[in-house]
């Protein structure tokens, strides 16, 4: 067995390179799609090409990318995560409720617990982690289908937001400090939240590509049984991912509530499906084992360009759904088709 070690005999030279990986292929092709879509929009929509407009349309969707990080990691392991929107709304509402001053007004919705801002945020994030723990318990421990579990927690967390706000919103008797973090402008129109999102994406991309944790995420999605037999602690790993995902959703919820200085129960309603769409658009396989956070970010930009261009074209809002669905559907189909042709 010591023979031919290192291949230095030159007889059997093993290349360390293959053709471009499927992932790079998808990312690159989606990048080309972005350029094409922006090109088209610039031709047909007045002033679309302006850099400010392009920057705006990306930054307006920062929360979809931030929520997409956890969703992408989980989808790579072969698990759905649909509770992010509900968790974000719940965390925002709770942070407001915890922070509102206590017993100052006869109006129920103006009365909170009067906790200091930092404590209120910490407790709200803890509640978010609680939802993540519920997801993890049922999916990783009890092996319930993730789509069922996270559909339930999606409604459950949204329901808590509804109860705390009586189906409306809480936006009075808040200390001034509450509105600060969501309204810091770092450069021009770019809010702090956008930089926090970029920071998270960079960290996530490094974890995904460079660490053992990231590698194990792919192993679980590629073959869960083989992963277990190869010593991967599958349940623990999925638990960590659900906790991370709900924590990120919590952070998004707090930033949004701070931006609007209001805890609204219907905040980013239905966003979990947009997040799923951009994740798929970014090339993550619905069966797991394949995908990337950068892809999800690119997918979000495509969605943002389409949404913005259709508004610019003065399409009536009801038609925007059709346009969005057709383009997204064609894009994902084309991607899968290209991938299967490539791997023949």
């Amino acid at each position: 067995m010591r023979s031919g070690l290192g291949g230095s005999d030159g007889v059997n030279k093993i290349s360390t390179r293959g053709k471009m990986s499927n992932e790079s292929f998808i990312t690159l092709s989606m990048f080309i799609v972005i350029i094409v879509v922006i090109g088209f929009a610039s031709i047909f929509v007045p002033n679309f090409y302006r850099p400010q407009n392009i920057i705006n349309l990306v930054t307006n969707f920062w929360y979809i990318i931030a929520l997409g990080i956890g969703v992408t990691f989980l989808l790579i392991t072969g698990n759905f995560e649909l509770s992010v929107g509900g968790v974000a709304a719940m965390t925002g509402v709770l942070s407001v409720y915890f922070c509102q001053s206590a017993g100052t007004s006869p109006n129920v919705l103006a009365n909170g617990l009067g906790l200091p801002y930092g404590v209120a945020v910490a407790l709200a994030l803890l509640a978010a982690l609680g939802i993540g723990a519920i997801n993890a318990f049922f999916v990783a421990k009890l092996k319930v289908a993730s789509i069922v579990v996270t559909l339930a927690t999606m409604s459950f967390s949204r329901g808590i937001a509804q109860i705390v706000t009586r189906g409306a919103q809480r936006n009075t008797s808040l200390p001034d400090v509450y509105g600060v973090v969501g309204n810091i402008f770092v450069v021009g129109s770019l809010k702090l939240a956008v930089f926090i999102m970029i920071f998270f994406v960079i960290i996530a991309a490094i974890i995904e590509k460079r660490t053992v944790f990231g590698r194990r995420t792919y192993l679980i999605g590629a073959n869960m049984q083989a992963a277990r037999l190869s010593g991967v602690k599958v349940a623990k790993h999925i638990t960590i991912l659900y906790l991370i995902s709900s924590f990120l959703a919590g952070v998004v919820g707090i930033l949004l509530a701070s931006e609007y200085i209001s805890g609204t129960s219907s905040r980013i309603m239905g966003v979990e499906f947009d997040v799923l769409v951009v994740t798929l658009l970014g090339g993550t396989a619905i069966m797991g084992g394949f995908g990337s956070v950068i892809g999800t970010a690119i997918g979000t930009v495509i969605l943002a360009v389409i949404a913005s261009a259709s508004t610019g074209l003065l399409l009536r809002p009801e038609w925007q759904f059709i346009l969005k669905s057709v383009i997204v559907f064609i894009a994902i189909m084309a991607q899968r088709f290209a991938l299967s042709r490539r791997n023949l």
């Binding site: 067995m1 031919g4 290349s15 053709k19 053992v212 792919y218 590629a222 083989a226 010593g231």
Partner: protein, 493 residues
Amino acid sequence: MNNNVLEIKNLIKDFPGVRAVNNVSFGIKRNTVHCLVGENGAGKSTLIKILTGALPKTSGTIILNGKDYVANNIREARLRGISTVFQELNIVDQLTVEENLFLGAEDTFMGFLRRTDKIKRMIDVAKSLEPSINPRQIVSRLSVAQKQIVEIAKAVAMESEIIIMDEPTAAISEYEVERLFNIIRSLREKKVTVIYISHRLDEIFEIGDYVTVMRDGKHIGTELVSKIKNRSELIKMMIGKTLFESYTPRKLQDKPILLEVKNLKNDKLKDISFEVRRGEIVGFYGLLGVGKTELAHAIYGIGTYKGEIIYNGKKLHNSPDKAIEAGIALVPEERRTQGLFTILTIRNNIPVMNMKKISRSGFINTRKEIEASIKYINELKIATDTIEKQSSKLSGGNQQKVVFSKCLFADSDLLILDEPARGIDVGSKSEIYNIIRQLSEEGKSIMIFSSELHEILNVCDRIFIMYDGRIKVEKKNGPGIDREEIIHIVTGV
């Protein structure tokens, strides 16, 4: 005109590197129970797959009722009158018995099901075979034996002339075996010929009219069962002259004990105890379903058990990651579903069982990872031009070498190999046996679980012969080892 329902002439089937069926000719008489026996890898399954249309033949002819017979799939075979009751039953658990009976043969009127005479007749046939089965019952509630009977009934109801049964008794109780045999006997009256495959030789004397023995892809003989004196004669035909085995005995009694298993029990295992020494290769031999895989899994920390497993002086915890940490690695039975990450590259497959070796504080060192793959590709001679090849695109033998590389990379002292050479070509097989020998020379202990005797005799120092969840006999390997006796034990005496 002879009364052969089926005539096989000069049948050949080649796989890359192997001739699985080598110029086989024999006939099967009408209304008989014709048994087919041979060791694993003798070519029985391949022959059956050709008959049922699952595989195309390379050359030769098959004549059914005097007419040339070719089937391209199971459905075509069935239409020509050859049905099969497979080991993995072809039955839909969520449907009722009668829905299963006419599945694929429904009569419809504008899309709605109709209960025509044909369907009533099918239900009658099923009832006549086994009155205890209610046609309205959901199949998932039935036992394996009852499900087999539903399949047989379906075959009879579709007026099959030949029913092939592939190890029908492997997974059913003794009482059910008797009932199955009564049904097989009654099939003769229904003008059905049965081709019966089993490793349990006693069954052949009980139920068979004729027996055909195959060995190494060749037809050894077809005899009237009544003309065969006893099991020994049959076994001699199966194993032939003692082949040269490349095993040479080694002295290992003085080596320290690495693994000790005491009174291991679970629903499949019945009180198993043994020990493995350092540098030793031990084999566990037995038919399918005797508990080999369950034993391998128990040691590796999958599944529950009572009893003790002591490795290197310490009790093992019940989880694979703990087993790997302790120094144990498993090459699982199912390469593609349990061993390999088929959608990932060779480079991404090899280090997975020991990520610490290619990382520092959680960050992967790509250079080390690449070096590791190159090392094992060279050492195990994995046929590929690049480490970035997707492992699904490798041949079976090379895939198995990747799985071996995974385990070797884990730097374990005990390797558990569950059917290590199943489904791979002859060349890769002998390479894998050489790897196993070299590993043991390097001081690693190896446990091989196999249903192929020659494989066990080829490399193992000691052999544990398993039957029905127990270790029946322990034997030292050596020139004088009695293969006949071993086959007697595993086929149930």
